[in-house]
Symmetry: C2
Subunit: 364 residues, 2 copies
């Protein structure tokens, strides 16, 4: 099995990104450092706003004079703000012009998703064998584990090949971060209501089955929307439009249910009293579905590891994103994605060779 | 405004469909009759199993010797079981060969969705101006109202034109059943994460905006997944694959959250005691999110009104589906869909005429 990368693991942190900037990212970095003695942080941003961290151990401030705001257009992030904390942080994942190796193993940002994607793609480029990078995040499931879902919005109109690549990258992610060597993969589909199945999904099913038969993937088969929260498989792959709608509607439903619980426990004084008594129980429930615990989406398929925190993350949530990024880097996520993609491409190539040989044999 | 249809409204009920058959459908019919003095029921199924209802007022048993099971293939429902309760119930929506008018105004079934769709399409045919019928259902929202979503799985790979038709049919449904004359329509899309927007959605947005400008629709604009549960618009239109994933994942998430609440309130004896005290509050919460209250999806775009109950519905849930079907028939949903589609087609035709006139004018 792949050996973990030796410490120190270095994380480049875009300290200015997100809704709250350093007031959230710095306390998160501090808490993260305390729990990860093998980690080093490159804190990217305006030095005057990061002064508090200058004296921390295993830390270095990397100056960047500009900030990509949550509303900045992609063009602004790409062409105008060339000294933004986001861009400088991603740049730290690249070897420099003199051939010195990259300074950081992974980059974490809570900045504007569109801008982060665009800058990461331009600076890092896509891995060979990957047509489209994808965003992967985890959702809680009733089994008490997590389901990793991708793509969550980087791609729309994904092809069958794209979906196969998502499955390969997702498998690498789950094996690196969650330590499951052969995670199971489900293909998101719809049930009997489908009068006419989508051609793309059918083709993707065939590609995934073939990859499973060749030992490249642990393919379970089709799953439906509810299987995400049942935990039927470790990974669920889907088109980015579908994944994004699923993610946002789940957020909406969870917050509606939270609002309803709150409303009922504050409706009158009896309910309030009961609510007070039930507080420890309700807090345990809240902890279980607390999306801050699952913060940290991986941008997969690039020649560098980038993790995206929710823009509205608080210090606790941002720290979780740092921890996921650390685990991914330490367990060589980039190498795993690369190796799995190469293996899948080779299997397909040899499969094509076999088919050609069979055709020749049949013709003879 | 359209006058409601005078009583009696006649519902054809497939009493054998669903997971439980007459043990659920008959008590639901009884409760429904008590609350709807203007309704008459045609109870379709095996007479020996419906004997209990023979003496009920405003009821008539219509015999059917076969039952489409939940696992029957569409072909079986269509070609082999020609005397199924499902088929006979739908048949009651058609004029007979001698030109006698249809016996029922609307049909309700809890049977196998795929089979119901197929039989309904073959027997009833699609309305003129509708390329693809759609399934619409309601979801609760935080505003305490309902959001009607379509399509929920009848179509995959919906075109921009299909999405426009869904919007028109959804508007007719909400005005008929919920009494909102000009319900607002949102087009389900994804946010900033979209590196590349879907062409179909962009085109649909243009068609919807044009229909809004022409006064055919109350088009709000794009919405995201969370807007369904926020209640941003009365109606949300989407491709059936996306809608089905949204629906099923919402069901999965809600049941996961329910399981977590239960687990926490039964974890130890203190929690159990608190749970006992909190029971009235938790019951109010449960009522709010009780999907049985929202049972009854409309199959829209056919030359007849068909409502689909969840297969696992209990008597309370099935009664809700009957009530929704009754409201739809009484408020002339079929005429409303027809009128709106005609108006939209005319507006588009005259728009095309204007464009042609403009082109001629410009050329001159």
């Amino acid at each position: 099995m792949t050996q973990p990368l030796p410490d120190p693991i270095r994380l480049a942190v875009d300290c200015m990104g997100g809704d709250h900037g350093p007031s959230v990212t710095l306390p998160a970095c501090r808490a993260f450092l305390d729990k990860h003695p093998g980690a080093e942080l490159l804190l990217v941003g305006k030095p005057e706003e990061l002064a508090a961290a200058a004296a921390w151990p295993r830390c270095r401030v990397v100056p960047a004079s500009e900030v990509v705001t949550m509303d900045d257009a992609i063009e602004v992030a790409l062409r105008r703000k060339r000294d933004s904390s986001m861009r400088v942080a991603i740049q730290l994942l690249r070897a420099d012009r003199d051939g010195n190796p990259a300074q950081a193993h992974v980059c974490v940002s809570a900045g504007n998703t569109g801008a982060l994607w665009a800058v990461a793609k331009v600076l890092l480029k896509t891995l060979e064998g990957i047509d489209r990078p994808a965003i992967a995040a985890v959702m809680p499931n009733v089994a008490g584990r997590f389901t990793t879902v991708l793509d969550l919005g980087a791609n729309v109109d994904s092809s069958a090949e794209n979906l196969l690549q998502f499955a390969v990258m997702g498998s690498a992610l789950v094996s690196a971060v969650d330590g499951i060597e052969e995670p199971s993969v489900g293909l998101l589909n719809i049930g009997e209501e489908a009068i006419k199945g989508s051609e793309t999904i059918k083709q993707a099913g065939e590609l995934l089955r073939a990859a499973g038969a060749a030992g490249q993937l642990n393919f379970f088969g089709n799953v439906e929307g509810n299987d995400i929260f049942k935990g039927t498989t470790d990974i669920v792959v889907c088109d980015g439009f579908v994944g994004n709608v699923m993610l946002k509607s789940s957020e909406g439903l969870a917050s509606m249910m939270g609002a309803f619980i709150k409303a009922e426990f504050t409706r009158d004084w009896v309910s309030k009293l009961v609510g007070l008594l039930a507080k420890p129980v309700l807090n345990r429930f809240k902890h279980r579905v607390d999306h801050r615990r699952f913060n940290g989406a991986a941008l997969l398929g690039l020649r560098g590891l980038v993790f995206k925190s929710h823009g509205s993350a608080d210090a606790f949530a941002f720290e979780q994103a740092l921890a996921r990024a650390y685990d991914a880097a330490r367990n060589r996520l980039l190498d795993r994605v690369h190796d799995r993609i190469v293996a899948t491409l080779q299997a397909k190539a040899s499969d094509a060779g076999d088919n050609a040989a069979n055709t020749v044999a049949q013709a003879a």
